[in-house]
Symmetry: C2
Subunit: 210 residues, 2 copies
């Protein structure tokens, strides 16, 4: 499929989701949907950012994914959600009922969009598995920074806390902090604020991310 055809399909689907969808705003840390709630809606980030998380009974937490403007989330598939979704900062999302997809004339485009988003989700989750299973702390942090920059058009903005990063990377906040300091002191990245960095040595960070 050509790039233009993909773009056309995507924009048609976005038209449909905007026509059928509901805009909602969420305050920082507010729950968008909860673990074990039934799966009913599909969401798209308008602005702000979202995280999905899962808790073990003793409080250990795993962040499944972060979502930025344009990203679709809530695609899980069982009858119930396995992860909950929360606003990372004050944000706005568009959501529509899954059942509405079947009834709409643009259903084909929408279903195509949902399929594409699901595939993308699976790809990213498989990459996440590789990272958690076989990468060192330093490699995980480097991969993460590189991923953020790649998804954000080159900008190094971190809307999430160190705890969120740690729970995404399978590490503790102390280890994340140490690795960030280490990457900075070796001139791979540079932080000009707690949550804003830029890459100083693209080759080095690419090598670390493996």
């Amino acid at each position: 499929m050509s790039i233009t055809a993909t773009a056309r399909t995507a924009s048609a689907a976005i038209d449909a989701i905007e026509r059928l969808g509901v805009r909602e705003t969420f305050a920082k840390d507010e729950e968008i949907y909860g673990q074990a709630e039934p799966v009913q809606r599909v969401y798209r980030v308008i602005h702000g950012a979202v995280r999905t998380t899962r808790l073990l009974s003793d409080g250990r937490r795993q962040v499944g994914e972060f979502y930025f403007p344009g990203d679709v989330f809530g695609l899980e598939t069982g009858p119930d959600h396995r992860y909950s979704a929360e606003a990372l900062c004050d944000c706005e999302v568009l959501s529509m009922k899954r059942s509405a997809v079947r009834e709409d004339v643009a259903a084909a485009d929408l279903q195509r969009m949902i399929w594409d988003a699901t595939i993308r989700e699976l790809d990213r989750t498989q990459e996440h598995v590789l990272m958690l299973g076989r990468k060192t702390a330093c490699e995980r942090v480097a991969s993460f920074l590189l991923d953020i920059v790649g998804r954000n058009g080159g900008a190094g903005d971190l809307p999430m806390s160190r705890q969120d990063m740690a729970d995404y990377l399978g590490l503790t906040i102390e280890t994340v902090s140490r690795m960030l300091s280490q990457l900075q002191s070796s001139a791979v990245v540079e932080f000009d604020a707690l949550r804003h960095f830029r890459i100083r040595n693209p080759q080095a960070i690419a090598r670390l991310a493996a």
Copy 2:
């Protein structure tokens, strides 16, 4: 959707995949498809078992998933495979071209089957993330044994080597071996052969798997 409707859809799709598909046999450790090869076919295990793996440049290996009779694999979505698939033991698989799906009269059933299998894959991969990110070695091994039993109708057969288990669980073979010994000595499971066990204390293993 009711259980009977699901079963009917599934069997119609299985009919279609059997009509359109090609049976192939693979010897133990033979490659079914390779990392970075284009995604062209969908596969279903007839008998035997399959693993998907991904290699880092320095040889570290991550096993993505194990597939048993009835399971569908090769669902990755990008233009190219991110994981390779290999026969875990001598096995037989059925495969069909993705492009054939569009042309077949039973396409709706088939697409439904592919969708269901993709969702299942995503669920399992998210569970894998949680395990690798936040569970201890002992919990990982316990979760794995429980999963195997659950997928195999209660039988504790391990068609994979300790190395395969380790690369799935993000551990070393020594650690896997130690945890198995530990679970056995605490009477949680019992091995009567290297690759065959049974659960002696279901509550204990469920608690460990968290």
